[in-house]
C-alpha cells in the first residue's frame, strides 16, 4: 500500500491509496502517480505492517454503551411543560436533547 500527499499541503492527509504486489512495484506506481497528478510526496508501507482503525466502527466510537438505563427514555417524565430541545449548529441527531 502507498500514499501520496498533495502539493503544498501542510497536512499529511492520505489523498490516494495505491496497492501493489511488492514494494518495488508500489514505488513505480507512485512515481507514475505523482508525476501525472502533480503530487509532491509519495511513501510506501507493507500493508501487513499497518495497524489501523476500521472506519466502519467510527459510529460506535461516539455511541454510549447499550445498557437500557443509559438511555434517556428509560426515565419516565411528563410531556409538559413543552419539551425543550436545545438545538446547536451541529447536524447530527446526537445533539438534540429532549429535556423534560
Amino acid at each position: 500500500m502507498g500514499s501520496v500527499r498533495s502539493k503544498n499541503d501542510l497536512n499529511t492527509d492520505t489523498v490516494e491509496a495505491l496497492h501493489a504486489s511488492d514494494a518495488k512495484m508500489a514505488l513505480k506506481m507512485q512515481e507514475m502517480y505523482t508525476h501525472v497528478a502533480m503530487k509532491a510526496l509519495a511513501f510506501g508501507q507493507v500493508s501487513a505492517q499497518i495497524t489501523a482503525s476500521n472506519p466502519d466502527e467510527n459510529g460506535e466510537m461516539f455511541e454510549p454503551a447499550a445498557d437500557v438505563y443509559r438511555h434517556p427514555t428509560f426515565y419516565v417524565l411528563p410531556d409538559e411543560p413543552k419539551t425543550h430541545v436545545i438545538e446547536v449548529g451541529f447536524t447530527a441527531e446526537s445533539t438534540r436533547f429532549n429535556c423534560p
Binding site: 461516539f62 438505563y69 428509560f74 451541529f90 447530527a92 445533539t95 436533547f97 429535556c99
Partner: protein
C-alpha cells in the same frame, strides 16, 4: 521564526477559525490559544473527576436497585469523561502527570459546584437535574468549539450525558409525588442547589475578561450570561410543573424579553468557593489525594503487567 512569519501564520490561523475549520493538535496555533485550551480542557477534566465524589457518597445508600444502576452508570460516565478530556489536553503538550499534580496540589481549579455537600438523597436528584442540566447547556455549545479533539470529546460526552439530567429529574419528581417529608426534602435540595447552579456558568460577561478572546477563537460559542439565561428559562417551568418553588423572590417571566428575569447572584459566595473556602473544598481535595495515594499499588501493578506483556511480545518477534 521571524515576527513577520508568525504574523502570517496567525492570519492563516484566524482565517481557518473564521471558516469554522477545526484546529488539530499538529496545526500551528498561537501560544495563547494552546495555553488557554490546556487550562480549560484540564479544568473540565478535573471537574469530571472531582464530580464523582459528591455522588459517589450516595451509591451505597440508593433507595432502590433501579436508582443504584443509574447512579453507578452516571458516576462511571464522569470518570470516563475525565479520561477523554485528559487525553484531549495531552494532545496540546501537557502530560497527564502534570495535570494530576496540578489537581492534587490545589493549583488547578475545577467546577466550584462540587465543593457543596450532598446531605440528603434529594441532592442526588438535584445534581442530575440542575448541575447536569447546566453542564449539558455548556457542553452542547462546546460541540462546535474550534479545537478538534475537544469538540469530538464533547460529542461523545453529550451523548452519554443525555440520561443524566433525566434520571435526576425523575428522582426529584418521585419525591414530589411522595410524603410531605419527601416533598420538603426535594424543596430543601432545590433551595441549596439553585444558586450554585446559576454560578456554574461563571462570572457575568462584563466581569469575565477572557470571554471575548475565547469567543473570537470559538473556544466559547455562547457567553456566560446567555447560557445562564437559557438554563433559567428551561428549568423554571420544570420546577413549577412538579410543585417546587425556585428560591428567588425576583424571579418572573418578562413578556417583553421573552425570558425570565431573575435576582442578583451572590458573587462574594462564588469567589469565596472558587478561592478554596467553600463548604467542601478541603474535603474534596483530601479525598482525591487519598484515592491517588491508595491507588498507587494498582498503577504499579498495571505498569508491571504492561511491561511484561511488551517483553513477551518482543521475544515473540525476535524468536
Amino acid at each position: 521564526m521571524s515576527e513577520k512569519e508568525i504574523k502570517s501564520l496567525e492570519d492563516i490561523f484566524n482565517q481557518r477559525i473564521a471558516r469554522d475549520e477545526k484546529i488539530e493538535p499538529k496545526d500551528w496555533m498561537p501560544e495563547k490559544y494552546r495555553k488557554t485550551h490546556i487550562r480549560q480542557i484540564s479544568q473540565h477534566a478535573h471537574s469530571e473527576i472531582v464530580g464523582m465524589l459528591p455522588e459517589g457518597n450516595w451509591i451505597s445508600r440508593c433507595p432502590t436497585l433501579r436508582r443504584k444502576v443509574a447512579l453507578l452508570a452516571k458516576v462511571q460516565d464522569e470518570g470516563g469523561h475525565g479520561l477523554y478530556l485528559y487525553s484531549a489536553a495531552e494532545t496540546l503538550g501537557i502530560s497527564r502527570e502534570e495535570m494530576f499534580e496540578q489537581l492534587h496540589t490545589g493549583a488547578a481549579k475545577y467546577s466550584s459546584i462540587f465543593n457543596y455537600p450532598t446531605l440528603t438523597w434529594a441532592d442526588i436528584g438535584a445534581i442530575g437535574w440542575l448541575v447536569d442540566g447546566a453542564a449539558i447547556m455548556n457542553q452542547v455549545a462546546l460541540i462546535n468549539t474550534s479545537f478538534g479533539p475537544y469538540s469530538r470529546a464533547m460529542i461523545r460526552i453529550c451523548k452519554e450525558e443525555s440520561f443524566h439530567q433525566r434520571q435526576g429529574y425523575e428522582i426529584i419528581m418521585t419525591l414530589m409525588n411522595g410524603t410531605q417529608e419527601q416533598k420538603d426534602m426535594a424543596q430543601d435540595a432545590l433551595n441549596r442547589w439553585w444558586w450554585p447552579s446559576l454560578m456554574m456558568f461563571g462570572p457575568r460577561d462584563e466581569d469575565s475578561p477572557n470571554s471575548e478572546q475565547s469567543m473570537r477563537w470559538k473556544l466559547k460559542r455562547k457567553t456566560n450570561d446567555e447560557l445562564r439565561q437559557a438554563f433559567v428559562d428551561q428549568t423554571v417551568p420544570q420546577a413549577e410543573l412538579i410543585g417546587l418553588k425556585v428560591p428567588d423572590s425576583d424571579l418572573k417571566w418578562n413578556e417583553e424579553r421573552g425570558h425570565y428575569d431573575f435576582g442578583p447572584i451572590d458573587w462574594d459566595e462564588f469567589w469565596q468557593v472558587v478561592n478554596g473556602h467553600g463548604p467542601c473544598n478541603k474535603e474534596r481535595l483530601a479525598a482525591r489525594n487519598k484515592a491517588w495515594d491508595e491507588g498507587a499499588w494498582i498503577r504499579e501493578a498495571a505498569n508491571a503487567y504492561a511491561s511484561k506483556q511488551a517483553a513477551k511480545e518482543e521475544q515473540r518477534k525476535t524468536a
